[in-house]
């Protein structure tokens, strides 16, 4: 199963993860 997020954010929003990285619920995905 998969969860896809699609969202509007300021253009300077940056993801703080990298592809294939394992994450836990509640961990930071990105921030402005």
């Amino acid at each position: 199963s998969t969860v896809v997020l699609v969202f509007e954010a300021p253009s300077d929003f940056e993801f703080t993860v990298h592809p294939s990285q394992k994450v836990k619920m509640g961990e930071r995905l990105g921030d402005v």
Binding site: V3, E8, F13, G30
Partner: protein
């Protein structure tokens, strides 16, 4: 060979013009074929035609009765296990799939009657602290891909894209959705100081502090809040002229189905929760018009962009999903589709994977504008649960509507304050069940 390699003289000469021309023709031909493959085929309504595309083994998988297999898998895994076997069997499963048994709730494996129940296990309080960042992971899993949405296309893997409109559905002018009137007298005014809901003033500080709000109107807040918790979900639309025959799918556009919006909160708790989300979202002005198309990606605010992220949940992962931010879910769109595996292996091979599979698009807004979250089902986990939507039923038997058709429910009555289902970061939203 050594002699030939070392003694053969190298003689350079220009290629004949015809060979060069042929080479250019071949390059152009390859480019044209590649472009034709990437071109989007549209139907008479201007919607992208979603077809199964991929190598031969993808077509072989596509020929299997995946939905029936999924339901059978769910049935097998719902069978009750003998109590003596549960610790051994579930421990073996945990070992094979890397589940951490230290964090499950309840910790006693004998309390899980089946593998399906263990699969949908809960976690102990506090084992997943929520980061204060504006966006956190909605689930345990692996980040498959992320980036910006370019020209309404979302990248599935490098070089393969799918349509954002196909993923979320399109709000077409003239559809019932476009003329829904949000006529509640609702506004939240003055920077984080008080809120007016249907003519009643609420102090947000009081609400956050869990003290009963003072009232100055003719209607009590508890009346208003009670009505919100027992509100109904309304199915308002199908798309693409679909004629679904499933009993849970409206027979015609505009059909209404009574459905309780799930909530165990009392009136005061509801107001406190809603106000908390309002504060986190920085709500301080009347809600913006819903007529703006949020799904096209062409109407983002100046200075904003549209982003996407995909989190894959492997079989051993905790399979409930949570709110990734403070936001309000305004509606959900249920797309009945196939149930292909969504593993990274398949994502690299099957184009349009996420718009072919059964999914629930939860659409709403957060402090920066549009926010959407789409749980996508797979062969082993066809059942998608949304805690606040007790009408939602996925992976059902019956004839399927064509790809792209969806049923829609709105949550506008769930909260008088925010006109949708408010969610705080980390709040449990639902999950995936086997079958």
């Amino acid at each position: 060979i050594i002699n030939a390699w070392s003694e053969t003289p190298t003689k350079w000469y220009p290629l004949p013009l015809a060979v060069g021309a042929l080479l250019l023709v071949a390059i152009q031909y390859r480019k044209k074929v590649k472009r034709a493959r990437q071109e989007v085929e549209l139907n008479e309504d201007g919607l992208e035609v979603i077809r199964l595309k991929g190598p031969w083994h993808v077509h072989v998988i596509g020929a299997l009765p995946l939905r029936n297999m999924s339901r059978f898998w769910g049935y097998i895994n719902s069978l009750e296990l003998p109590v003596w076997f549960r610790p051994h069997g579930l421990r073996l499963y945990a070992l094979a799939f890397g589940c951490n048994l230290e964090e499950i709730d309840p910790p006693d494996l004998r309390e899980y009657p089946s593998l399906g129940a263990f699969f949908y296990r809960k976690l102990k309080d506090g084992v997943r602290p929520v980061d204060p960042a504006i966006l956190v992971s909605p689930a345990d899993g692996t980040v498959l891909h992320f980036g910006t949405v370019q020209e309404s296309r979302v990248e599935q893997v490098k070089g393969i894209t799918y349509s954002l409109d196909a993923l979320l559905g399109i709000e077409r002018p003239g559809s019932p959705l476009a003329v829904i009137e949000h006529n509640r007298d609702m506004s939240v005014v003055d920077d984080r100081e008080f809120a007016i809901v249907n003519g009643i003033e609420y102090s947000l500080e009081q609400l956050i502090g869990s003290t009963p709000p003072s009232t100055s109107g003719t209607q009590t807040p508890s009346d208003e809040a009670s009505s919100s918790t027992s509100s109904s979900t309304t199915l308002v639309s199908t798309s693409s002229g679909a004629s679904p025959e499933d009993e849970h799918i409206p027979k015609r556009v505009g059909d209404q189905v009574d459905a309780s919006v799930g909530s165990d909160r009392n009136a005061e708790e509801t107001l406190v929760h809603d106000a908390s989300v309002a504060l986190q979202m920085g709500v301080k002005a009347p809600m913006e018009s819903r007529r703006r198309s949020v799904t096209s990606g062409k109407h983002v605010k100046p200075g904003n962009s549209l982003f996407f992220a995909v989190v894959y949940l492997a079989p051993g992962d905790y399979h409930r999903f949570h709110s990734p931010t403070a936001w309000v879910v305004e509606k959900r769109r249920h797309f009945v589709g196939e149930l292909f595996s969504v593993s990274p292996w398949m994502a690299k091979r099957l184009e349009n994977l996420f718009v072919l599979n059964e999914r629930v698009a939860l659409l709403g807004r957060w402090k920066h504008g549009f926010f959407g979250m789409v749980p996508v089902g797979a062969t082993n986990v066809g059942s998608i649960i949304v805690n606040f939507d007790q009408d939602l039923r996925t992976n059902l038997r019956g004839r399927r509507p064509p790809p792209g058709a969806y049923t829609e429910a709105t949550y506008s009555a769930a909260s008088p304050l925010l006109r949708g289902q408010p969610l705080t970061p980390g709040e449990e939203m639902g999950g995936f069940r086997l079958g």
